[in-house]
């Protein structure tokens, strides 16, 4: 089913007889695929407003991400939160839609400085589980009128409603970028270096650690980037190389899109922790290839795709430390016994279940979508 507009979508949902699998580009769904009838959002497409002078863009949820990004590029702007392309990692084809980005709260390396998708999102239109068309927020960035359902819908993976339109506050594209790198660091030294950089006034917009190398990105006006790179090198001490704009851009697109994991087998975890806990979490994983982003606060781990993919030890470790682990890729046999999403404490799980029951009383929207 591929409704042509919001009203048709409302009718489809109202008339649904069973579970629905909501599909934008099909590029970001994780976990076992739910068996529902496919509901495609691709026709809810088109940029309805773009005002560069107001840093505002509004688009149908089915608009291809590439179209949104191209339009913003024409205005010298971009989505600040750096959307990852995980098709290689997850083995998908298809074209990501902006609604899918919001539903997954997808964000890349720049999230540590610019915020996540939900931090740029200022308005949503959606259809709930009984077909009622609703809206929250709007097209202005300062908006505290009533409850913030914009944040609630972001990352809800379709389980509270099907997005039909989304509005963002965007930011300028910088003139240039550069990246500082240093090799041969162990996890503890890496976290320390990244913390020092992120705690400096030099506005680091990417801090990642892979294969013993720490990468720190600086973006902005040419003079500013030159100044800040030099100042950061001075702060951090000897041994740091500075990669120029072309190398920097390539490096960060590979970190963003998890290129080091692409084409390699295994289950893949996406782990969120307090950055200084990164070394301890790495130490609990066996036979893992890891890539750490967000100054250590985001750990990607590729582990053998067997048994529970080390879920019990990993999630127990996080229960003590704080944080959560999502199993973004695994075989069906692993998923059969291991939930993709991190089990929440009872109080939060109860609230989430109750919210889903309000927005989707029949439980038809992406029912295996979360939790």
């Amino acid at each position: 089913m591929k409704p042509a507009n919001e009203i048709e979508l409302s009718e489809v949902i109202r008339g649904a007889n069973g579970p629905l699998r909501i599909v934008g580009g099909g590029t970001r769904a994780i976990g076992p695929l739910n068996a529902g009838e496919v509901l495609e959002t691709g026709a809810l497409s088109g940029i309805s407003l773009y005002e560069p002078g107001a840093l505002t863009i509004v688009a149908g949820a089915g608009t291809p991400l590439s179209e949104v990004e191209a339009e913003l590029a024409k205005g010298g702007q971009r989505l600040p939160f750096e959307v990852p392309d995980l098709r290689g990692l997850l083995g998908r084809d298809g074209a990501s839609t902006i609604g899918g980005v919001v539903s997954a709260n997808a964000a890349g390396p720049r999230r540590i400085q610019a915020g996540a998708c939900r931090d740029s999102l200022i308005g949503v239109r959606f259809v709930d589980g009984v077909g009622t068309i609703m809206k929250n927020g709007g097209r202005v960035m300062k908006n505290v009128t009533g409850y913030d359902l914009v944040k609630l819908l972001a990352g809800a993976r379709g389980t509270l409603g099907v997005l039909t339109e989304v509005a963002f506050k965007v930011l300028p594209r910088p003139e240039v970028e550069a990246t500082l790198t240093l090799d041969g660091l162990d996890p503890t030294a890496a976290v320390t270096a990244m913390a020092q950089a992120l705690g400096s006034p030099f506005e680091v917009t990417g801090a990642a650690y892979l294969d013993g190398q720490v990468c720190l990105r600086i973006e902005g006006m040419a003079g500013s980037v030159a100044y800040r790179s030099a100042a950061l090198v001075k702060l951090l001490g000897a041994g740091w190389d500075v990669a120029d704009a072309a190398h920097s851009a390539k490096l960060w697109s590979e970190i963003r899109d998890m290129t080091p994991f692409v084409g390699k087998p295994g289950a893949v975890w996406r782990i969120s922790v307090k950055p200084s806990d990164m070394p301890q979490v790495l130490a609990t994983l066996n036979e893992a290839q890891t890539l750490c982003d967000w100054g250590g606060g985001l750990i990607w781990a590729r582990v053998p795709d067997v048994n529970d993919a080390q879920a019990v030890t990993l999630r127990a470790c996080l229960a003590a430390l704080g944080g959560h682990a999502t199993l973004v890729r695994a075989s069906d046999s692993v998923y059969a016994t291991t939930p993709a999403f991190h089990p929440e404490p009872a109080g939060l799980a109860a609230l989430s279940a109750s919210l889903r029951a309000k927005f989707d009383p029949r439980g038809i929207l992406n029912p295996v979508g979360m939790g």
Partner: protein, 477 residues
């Protein structure tokens, strides 16, 4: 301002309610004397006052939980209170409610520079959060102008902004976690020092929920390294349109100033008479501030000035030093005080698309003549948040009502042009009855579902945010 009818059965049970609260709190934490409760009868929306049944000042999360459990069991509404600085009446009591004030909970619990967060009790003032970390080169970014007095609890309830929010976001963009006590006493930990939720973004809906979903007792806040420096430039223009275009061009050039403030002629004139900051007497004034090292500031300002010159400013003033920078800001920071010296005033808080500013100012000017009340406008030009200041005489019968009617018309206009009723102050009681202008019934129903889930008995701050007729059946229980 309509408020729910007081429940006489609750008032009749006051001795039993007070006695129950006294069992879980130290004596000085329960205020019930008729005179003493008047200290809590209003917040910064002083036109509306109502002493509560009682007020409590717990010191710990456990005490907050015990208080709420008692009130839940006895069916007593609770109105949470931070510092009572709300301009929207968010902490206005009813005569049958218990005010739960967090002012005694103001400690710093944990400071972590390596992971860039601070954990505080929610009664701590906004500015004192920065105060706790500034000697180590950090700050807490959301800075409402009441920051000397306002509490983090209130900031979270209203999702407060401030002058820095164009660059650094508002409270919800800087909040990492909370300890939330629900109305039945359940204590929840949501979020923490890690980023992003495991499931639904409950933290995101709690922020800005105006004390209706739970009482926040502790908060984990993002702290940021202090920029090396900041510097403003002042520009005067002979039309609002041109000022607006200049802002748009600055943004389109790829610069992100840390603040862009706009003042119109009535505001400039009143402010100059009061503060004598040496502002040009012109139609529209902009103050644009950028951050970074000296060299970076120079680089950004050079571009900003080049753009400004294309718009033929009547005045273009850079700050050569710290003193001159202070003088540039002096007028803007005195604006509200300047208006207050002329007369009583009502400060509105609508947001509009930035491109609508000239049209909205023109319409406000027309309404000013129709209503016979003067208006001065302050505007956060980067994010569209307007603060029209409507002058009235509180001693003149009918003037407050006239002023409120004028304000309501301005906020309806904000919604009409694609904006919203409130950009940072919150709905409280002040804009409650305008909610239907912005939200269709189904839009509001979805918000009510969230409260139904968190507070099924509708006891937490029940008379706020939503029109009373919309919430009547839920509040009746």
């Amino acid at each position: 301002m309509e408020m729910p009818r007081i429940d006489a059965t609750i008032v009749a049970r006051k001795p039993a309610i007070v006695a129950a609260l006294q069992e879980v709190l130290p004596p000085d934490a329960v205020i019930y004397d008729d005179i003493e409760v008047r200290a809590y009868e209003c917040d910064a929306l002083t036109a509306y006052r109502c002493p509560p049944l009682a007020a409590v000042l717990p010191r710990t999360t456990a005490e907050v939980s015990a208080v709420l459990r008692i009130c839940h069991k006895m069916g007593v509404p609770v109105v949470p209170r931070g510092a009572g600085t709300s301009l929207a009446g968010g902490a206005l009591p009813t005569g049958d409610c218990v005010i739960l004030g967090v002012a005694k909970m103001n400690e710093v619990l944990e400071t972590d520079y390596a992971n860039r967060f601070i954990r505080v009790q929610s009664g701590r003032t906004n500015l004192s959060v920065t105060g706790a970390v500034e000697s180590d080169g950090f700050f807490y970014a959301p800075d409402p102008s009441s920051q000397l007095a306002c509490a983090i609890a209130g900031n979270i309830a209203m999702n407060s902004g401030g002058a820095h929010c164009l660059k650094y976001g508002v409270t919800t963009n800087n909040l990492l976690g909370v300890t939330l006590v629900q109305m039945d006493g359940t204590v929840l930990e949501i979020g923490g020092a890690h980023l992003d939720p495991a499931g639904l973004d409950l933290l995101g809906v709690i922020c800005g929920s105006e004390g209706q979903l739970g009482v926040v007792t502790e908060a984990t806040l993002r702290i940021l390294p202090k920029p090396e420096g900041a510097r403003p430039v002042l520009m005067g223009f002979d039309s609002n349109e041109v000022a607006g275009e200049c802002v748009s061009d600055i943004i389109k050039a790829g610069i992100l100033p840390v603040a862009i403030e706009f003042m119109d002629r009535p505001c400039i004139e009143a402010t100059e008479a009061f503060a004598k900051a040496g502002y040009p007497m012109c139609e529209a004034l902009l103050i644009v501030e950028v951050e970074g090292s000296k060299a970076e500031i120079d680089e950004q300002l050079a571009l900003i000035i080049e753009i400004a010159k294309r718009h033929n400013p009547v005045e273009l003033r850079e700050a050569a030093d710290e003193d001159q920078a202070k003088r540039i800001w002096l007028g803007r920071k005195s604006a509200f005080g300047a208006m207050g010296q002329i007369n009583d005033y009502m400060c509105l808080d609508g947001t509009i698309p930035v491109s609508s500013l000239p049209y909205v100012l023109r319409r406000i000017g027309e309404m000013s003549k129709e209503y016979g009340l003067d208006v001065a406008n302050v505007f956060h030009a980067g994010d569209g948040n307007m603060h029209p200041l409507i002058l009235f005489d509180a001693n003149k019968p009918g003037d407050l009502e006239l002023c409120e009617a004028f304000g309501a018309d301005v906020l309806k206009l904000c919604v009409e042009v694609g904006g919203c009723l409130t950009g940072e102050h919150g709905v409280g009681i002040e804009k409650r009855d305008l909610m239907k202008v912005q939200f269709a019934p189904e839009d509001m129903e979805a918000q009510l579902w969230v409260k139904d889930v968190f507070d099924p008995k509708w006891l937490l701050n029940p008379a706020k945010v939503f029109p009373l007729d919309v919430t009547a059946s839920r509040r009746a229980g």
